[in-house]
């Protein structure tokens, strides 16, 4: 794993090309185009202790309100905490881009975001995940930098869970570092070319709770390498492998495989000619 990360970092620094910021695990500070509609379906799968494959399904509708604002609506389903796949709530996410310093082959952008989710199911888990496990809210900041050949993004957020089962943690601080690199095409000629991007993302989490709740505290750090294909400059396929490299949170999945498909429709409603 460390070897793979080193190879990816070597690739970022030594080869020519353009960096990409369509990160599989996090959102960049850039927004979708005004009136663009994105439809996303993602699965997160891990093998439980009794060798059963457990899956989470995340459906997402995204919309670019204008150059500064965008909104997502989510629906969550999973059998992480049950025998069958159950509905695990809904959520909404807003992002506001407040800083853009663009020039040729580089930009620095900053955005603030918020997420609020509602999950009617009570799940007994010592992990904090407001996207599919608990109801909750999050606020955060994202800064994305494109430096000719390297795209870097840092996402920081504070998360609070609303629903408590007694063992659930209540708060977490999350920090993600993402990097992306385009490996194909070497030269753009048309929209039909399939793009292939490599990413590596580090995702850290530190969770806290009230003092009498012994289970619900700890920290974790996951590393997520991904490969991404973009078809017709419109449809995206991400395949990611998440591996925990540090974890003191009880019962957290040690490794998982994620697959995500996204399709974008430009000028969805307002600007049809």
């Amino acid at each position: 794993m460390k070897y793979l990360a080193s190879v990816l970092l070597f690739v970022f620094f030594h080869f020519s090309g353009f960096a990409q910021e369509l990160f599989p695990m996090t959102e960049p500070a850039s927004n979708m185009a005004t009136d663009a509609l994105g439809l996303r379906l993602g699965t997160n799968n891990y093998q439980s202790n009794n060798f059963k494959i457990k899956s989470q399904l995340k459906s997402e509708v995204m919309y670019g309100i204008n150059a500064r604002w965008m909104i997502h609506f989510n629906g969550y389903f999973s059998d992480f905490y049950s025998k069958a796949i159950l509905f695990q709530g809904v959520g909404t996410y807003f992002k506001y881009r407040f800083l853009s310093m663009d020039s040729e082959h580089r930009h620095t952008r900053m955005a603030a975001f918020g997420r609020i989710t509602y999950n009617p199911t009570k799940n007994y888990t010592t992990d904090l995940n407001i996207e599919g496990a608990q109801s909750g809210a999050a606020v955060g900041l994202v800064i994305t930098q494109l430096l000719h050949k390297l795209a870097l993004s840092v996402t920081l957020n504070e998360t609070k869970a609303f629903s408590s089962t007694g063992i659930n943690p209540e708060n977490s601080f999350n920090y993600n570092l993402s990097a992306g690199y385009l490996i194909y095409p070497k030269k753009y000629t048309n929209y039909k070319q399939t793009n292939c991007n490599l990413y590596v993302e580090a995702m850290g989490k530190s969770i806290t709770s009230n003092p009498e709740n012994n289970f619900a505290a700890g920290a974790s750090l996951d590393i997520v390498p991904s490969i991404q294909f973009i078809f017709n400059s419109q449809t995206r396929l991400d395949i990611s492998y998440k591996r925990s490299i540090y974890n003191t949170i009880v019962y957290n999945a040690h490794q998982s495989i994620m697959v995500k498909v996204e399709h974008n429709i430009f000028n969805a409603f307002r600007n049809r000619k």
């Binding site: 353009f18 369509l22 663009d102 600007n271």
Partner: protein, 181 residues
Amino acid sequence: MKMNTLKKITALLFALTVHSMLASAQFVSVEIKASGLTCSMCSNSIDKALRTLPFIKDVAAHLQTTSFTVTFNTDAPIQLEDMKDKIEGAGFFVAGMTATYHFNNQKITNDSHISIEKNDYHFVDVSEQILNGDVAFKVMDKGYMLAKEYKKYKKKSSIPCIKNSTSCSPTAGTKTYHVTL
């Protein structure tokens, strides 16, 4: 039969020659370079946004340089600002905009204003000359070039309305573009 075809071709060539001689003053094309993007999905979003403008006939994208050549419908008035707004709406910025316009004996001098399609075009940093045929001019306003380039340009400009960001439109309510050759 052959004679007929020959006549048709001659007539067509004649018509084309006359048409090109009498070509009315109009925008031929606009070249826009966008900044802040590399991926073809981003270029696609700009391409699709530009195509929603009623006066745009076609967009040719040059993905490697993230630039776009826009051609127009002849019956609709062309507004350069609308194209800039579409690019910003897609989440990016204009790094450069050069318009090619077909002029018919248009005299210009430095710091002179001419009216094109109900907009005012203020020619700056040009020598006195007569414009004829397809001539390209570059827009020198804020938002039509990289922010730091504009800052430099504004600082060294000797034209008062650019230096002090004041209005110089000869007709109230008319949009003024500052352009140079």
